[in-house]
């Protein structure tokens, strides 16, 4: 177990090293950092001064080591556009994004697995057929269209919920949460549903497919031949075996939530890191782009570590070795 985790940890470090190298290269290959800092009409002396300040004349490896060192301390430099430290900007906006992703993940997992199991067990019922057909529509709906549709129905037409922004936040000192007030929930519910819908349908279809696959196996046939009840077969035998492959995909899908939060945040003008990223791409604000890249990769790596540990809990073949 220890070595397994250690191995995974080593792989994660490698992944992070590569991602950080890529984000470092952004600085050097996308635009001229000096132009970005001082604008087109700076004098030659000003330029040289800034070059020295930034250490742009050092060997590339020195620059990378410096970048890594700064990164480990959470320092990604100043935003070209807003001229504020990037880590500060991210930390301000992080709670909004994480809360949105968290609520969406809960919706996607609970509803997705629930409906997936239902349609996997009641294969022939008409309810399952309806759920499946609707889920295929769900996979075909781009996130931004869902968002626009929900805004039009619930905010413009019915006027039940706010159409954009985050409100009702409570400052806990280190974290601004919107999950403690009714207003906050009213604001988060539409974006959260928007964000979760695509992943929800994916999880649903995956769980169902895995369930059907497990139902074909010999040990299910043998369990039937022993006269075990449908309940025992479905839940004790089939569901747990379904979960093993499902866990991996769900890990990937939560990463997907973070990605699509960029779109959801744009549609709902949700003040999170995704919205910041899109604006940064628009203005080629490299420090923010680089930091966001590293941040997303880090979250992803962490999620995958958790998934690996879950694997251990669920599957004795890995836990005890072959």
């Amino acid at each position: 177990m220890f070595f397994f985790i250690l191995k995974r940890l080593a792989q994660s470090v490698l992944v992070m090293a590569i991602v950080s190298a890529v984000s470092f290269s952004l600085f050097n290959f996308v635009g001229d950092p000096v132009n970005n800092m001082v604008g087109q009409d700076a004098t030659r002396e000003q330029r040289i001064e800034i070059r020295e300040q930034l250490g742009l004349d050092d060997p590339i490896l020195t620059q990378y080591t410096r970048f890594l060192g700064n990164m480990l301390q959470g320092d990604f430099g100043l935003s070209y556009r807003i001229k504020r430290p990037v880590d500060q900007l991210i930390m301000e906006r992080l709670p909004a994004t994480l809360e949105l992703v968290f609520v969406s993940a809960i919706i996607a997992l609970v509803v997705g697995i629930g409906l997936g199991v239902y349609t996997g067990i009641r294969r022939k019922s008409w309810v399952s057929r309806v759920i499946l057909s609707v889920s295929l529509v769900g996979v075909s709906l781009p996130t931004f269209i869902i968002g626009i549709g929900l805004i039009y129905i619930f905010a413009v037409y019915m006027r039940w919920l706010p159409s954009s922004g985050r409100s009702g936040t409570v400052d806990l000192g280190w974290w601004k949460t919107s999950l403690l007030t009714v207003d906050g929930w009213r604001a988060i519910i539409l974006p959260a549903i928007t964000l979760s819908l695509f992943q929800l349908t994916l999880i649903l279809r995956l769980v169902r497919a895995e369930m059907l696959e497990v139902m074909q196996t010999d040990f299910i046939k043998f369990a039937r031949a022993r006269g075990l009840s449908e309940r025992a077969i479905n839940f004790r035998h089939a569901l747990r075996n379904t979960l093993v492959p499902v866990i991996t995909i769900i890990g990937l899908n939560i990463g997907g939530l973070i990605a699509f939060s960029v779109i959801t945040e744009t549609v709902f003008q949700w003040p999170g890191t995704g919205l910041m990223f899109i604006q940064a791409v628009d203005f080629v604000d490299v420090p923010i782009m680089a930091a966001y890249l590293v941040f997303v990769a880090l979250l992803f790596v962490l999620i995958n570590l958790v998934v690996d540990i879950l694997y251990f809990v669920v599957d004795p073949r890995i836990r005890l070795g072959d």
């Binding site: 996308v30 709906l141 781009p142 931004f144 269209i145 074909q216 990463g255 779109i263 997303v296």
Partner: protein, 303 residues
């Protein structure tokens, strides 16, 4: 048996002919692709011809709504362009970008995947680690990033002109790890089969075995991924354009149309967003339906 009868007797063809969903999906896909490809012949107006556009006709609702005019079936947009025509031209661009991006991702991914799976060892490790690292950055995010960098490289005056190619490359480059993984998995299964061993014993060189024996046998799962990938690529292009990162409004794709229309949604001009959105969803849904049927039909376990 005649050729046609034998063709009809094929399991996959039979399954297709007995699945109304698959047939409807195929019909919608084919009709949309044809409608878009022949847009210049079908569309009542040319939305790029200034002489056919008049601002006086702007913001007209669909023909059946009060105030609508019969020559503009689905109404007009803010600039007075016929909605039906812009949708046909926009869909054409969306499909083109989607197909090109999937092809790029498929060729790249399958080539690397088959090599990785057949050769193994260090080659395999390097290729698959790159794929792994790339998969840590979710696809759409990477597409935004590559697209953003690609545009930053181009001088301002060329950005609009080359936007389509940048989008294709951005989506294609994000797609390849999926294809590589599937192709590699299938290759490793096939490479262990005895027919490949037989080919090695005959003395065929590795490249010939890969091309003649392994590749054709990995195509089924790749085809399924490619169909679903086409749906995803069309969505990705629409998303990029919606975010203002993709195809510019001068030659709009479906995503650009939705983005432009979205600004008028609150003022009640719903048709400018609604019809392009419906067109996009129907197109993607049809492709997905086709992919879904294909996955079941090509999976021997479920038959």
């Amino acid at each position: 048996m005649t050729r046609w009868e034998r063709f009809k007797d094929n399991d996959i063809v039979w399954s297709f002919l007995h699945s109304p969903g698959a047939m409807i999906a195929a019909a919608i896909t084919v009709i949309s692709i044809l409608a878009c490809v022949f847009a210049p012949l079908i569309a009542p107006f040319d939305p790029f011809d200034p002489s056919q556009i008049s601002l006086w006709d702007g913001k007209l609702p669909p023909a059946w709504v009060e105030g609508g005019q019969p020559q503009y079936l689905l109404g007009t947009d803010n600039q007075g362009r016929d909605m039906l025509s812009t949708i046909l031209y926009g869909g054409r661009l969306s499909i083109l970008v989607g197909l090109a991006a999937v092809c790029l991702g498929m060729v790249l991914g399958v080539t690397l995947g088959v090599i990785s799976g057949y050769v193994g060892g260090v080659t395999d490790a390097v290729i698959m680690r790159i794929a792994d690292v790339q998969l840590t950055i979710p696809g759409i995010l990477l597409a935004i990033l590559i697209n953003g960098i690609g545009r930053a490289f181009l001088p301002l005056e060329l950005r609009q002109e080359f936007a389509v190619y940048v989008v294709i490359i951005a989506i294609g480059l994000t797609d390849w790890p999926q294809f590589a993984r599937v192709a590699r998995g299938a290759t490793m299964v096939e490479a262990n089969k005895e027919y490949v061993q037989a080919a090695r014993i005959i003395g065929l060189p590795a490249w010939l075995i890969m091309v003649r024996h392994v590749l054709p046998n990995t195509l089924r799962p790749v085809l399924v991924i490619a169909t679903i990938g086409l749906a995803l690529a069309i969505i990705a292009e629409a998303t990029l354009s919606f975010l203002g990162q993709g195809i510019p409004p001068t030659t709009p794709s479906l995503g650009t149309l939705i983005r432009v229309g979205n600004e008028y949604l609150f003022s009640g001009l719903w048709w400018i967003t609604f019809f392009p959105a419906i067109a996009l969803v129907v197109l993607v849904f049809a492709v997905n339906l086709l992919g879904d049927w294909m996955r079941d039909a090509l999976n021997p376990k479920l038959r």
